[in-house]
Subunit: 318 residues, 2 copies
Amino acid sequence: MPKRKSKTEAEATSPSKKQKTEADATSPSKKQKTDADAKPPISLEEMDFSSSASTKTGNAWNKKFISMNVNGFRAFLNKGGLDYIKKESADVFCIQETKCSDKDIPVDDFKKAGFSTHFLAGDKAGYSGVGIIYKDPPMSIKDGIDVEKHDDEGRVITAEYEDYYLVTVYVPNSGRGLKRLEYRTKEWDVDFRKYLKELDNKKPVILCGDLNVAHNEIDLKNPKSNKNKTPGFCDAEREGLTELLQEGFIDTYRHIYPNKEQAYSFWTYMGNARAKNVGWRLDYFLVSKRLEDKMCDSLMRSQVMGSDHCPIALLMAF
Amino acid sequence: MPKRKSKTEAEATSPSKKQKTEADATSPSKKQKTDADAKPPISLEEMDFSSSASTKTGNAWNKKFISMNVNGFRAFLNKGGLDYIKKESADVFCIQETKCSDKDIPVDDFKKAGFSTHFLAGDKAGYSGVGIIYKDPPMSIKDGIDVEKHDDEGRVITAEYEDYYLVTVYVPNSGRGLKRLEYRTKEWDVDFRKYLKELDNKKPVILCGDLNVAHNEIDLKNPKSNKNKTPGFCDAEREGLTELLQEGFIDTYRHIYPNKEQAYSFWTYMGNARAKNVGWRLDYFLVSKRLEDKMCDSLMRSQVMGSDHCPIALLMAF
DNA sequence: CGTGCGAAG
DNA sequence: CTTCACACG
């Protein structure tokens, strides 16, 4: 873990007081960055993705995972997404809301950059869809969760590696007027939890993606006005995540930064929300509890543009 | 008419030879312009819309009409369309394919510029629609042609002035696969012709708009490959215009420039057609024969951008 | 190729 | 506010 000298207190500062970012806490670089709620847009070149994070016992990280809801992979690439991917140079990128089919993936560009790809589109064109972009091939890749009623929307990919399953998910949004809240919480959440539990019985799981829920009040700017009104902060959705964690998973970001405020991974495009940091933490890396001592850091790449979500990163020492 | 010293020969030059534009023939300005098929895009400020055209008997023009298919009025305005309208300063602008409803018209901006507006939208949102923008109010304005089956698409406005009816039309496109060719030629053309004939019985008519047909081979770049294949150059469509002219109307542009080649008012956005001047003359000013001696000039504003059609102009001496 | 729609987020 | 699909041209 990155010099986590009582991070609990260190992060328990007021949101108005300038806090150090995780990057500051982990990077030896002299480049100081301002807080997540006051970052001016900077260029990719200026960003520093380096990290010297290690486990509690001092093992340096050796695997980097990125998860990002790209809100349309083609649009993301048009905005320079490939440059970000190259610079970040993660072992695996897990992306959600690809909104495209296989033919739209510039496979050769990825090959040239040293990556292979596996994408899963939903039946409805331009809707949902997930993908993984990886350096080292998994032992196996599986699409969906073997429940027919859920598997036509292209929401889950499971990549099996030696030491863990890497699962990426784009959880169904509860929709305008919460018209899909029941489906989401009573059907999807239940079956997906079951799927993860079964996986976890075989091998530790790293789950990442857009869980489409802000777990607690700290995880969004305006908990009061959104509670049980806006998809993503309804009790049933939040309880769904609570239950998943109770099955034996760790919310890596909140585990490492338990009191960190103003740390979001999503900002609606409306009303200039991102500039004002009126955001939500909807994107997560969860890991099986028995991976706890392999965790090095969990990060929000809040400066990376190109979507209404930012990438999130997990550093592990295997 | 602009010093039409045997225009017939003057224009009968090869397309590769640089020809003078109508503007050159009519404007005393020293600004020389290159041919329609080799015009580099120039700024609105650089364009010269002045003209000293007059009738055969030497009466200087005193009314300017503009017709333009704007391909979405909102998009056109976003691309600086209002600046063009101000600079052109026509007595009446007739526009087609507005693709918007009344609420989208910046009425106050037009008021400030000295114009009133009347727009007619079709029932289907974002489809078709025509409008007029005028300095002096007509005696009356009428929407449609009193034939119910045609009048739900917002295609015709008739403005009655003292000396003439001004009619603007957006003729139905025959559609991909010519699936609407029958409707267009056997129903619309027939009824619209009847409407115009009846108007013409009362008062001379100035008809302008997107007639969605290139009348003769000279009126499009590639007559061979488009003949009876592409909407706009099918025999039935061309005959429809021939019949209309036979009812007693003049194609003002072709009347004044009978042999002028490469003079188009539409270029598909595909394949860089406009830069290569691979175009069609689909937009017309027709006038009742008895207005012939009031005609001063008929012009293509081929440098004006903002749509896949350019504006066309008619100068009259009333 | 580009406009505007409508669904979706 | 932005993505995409689709219709239409």
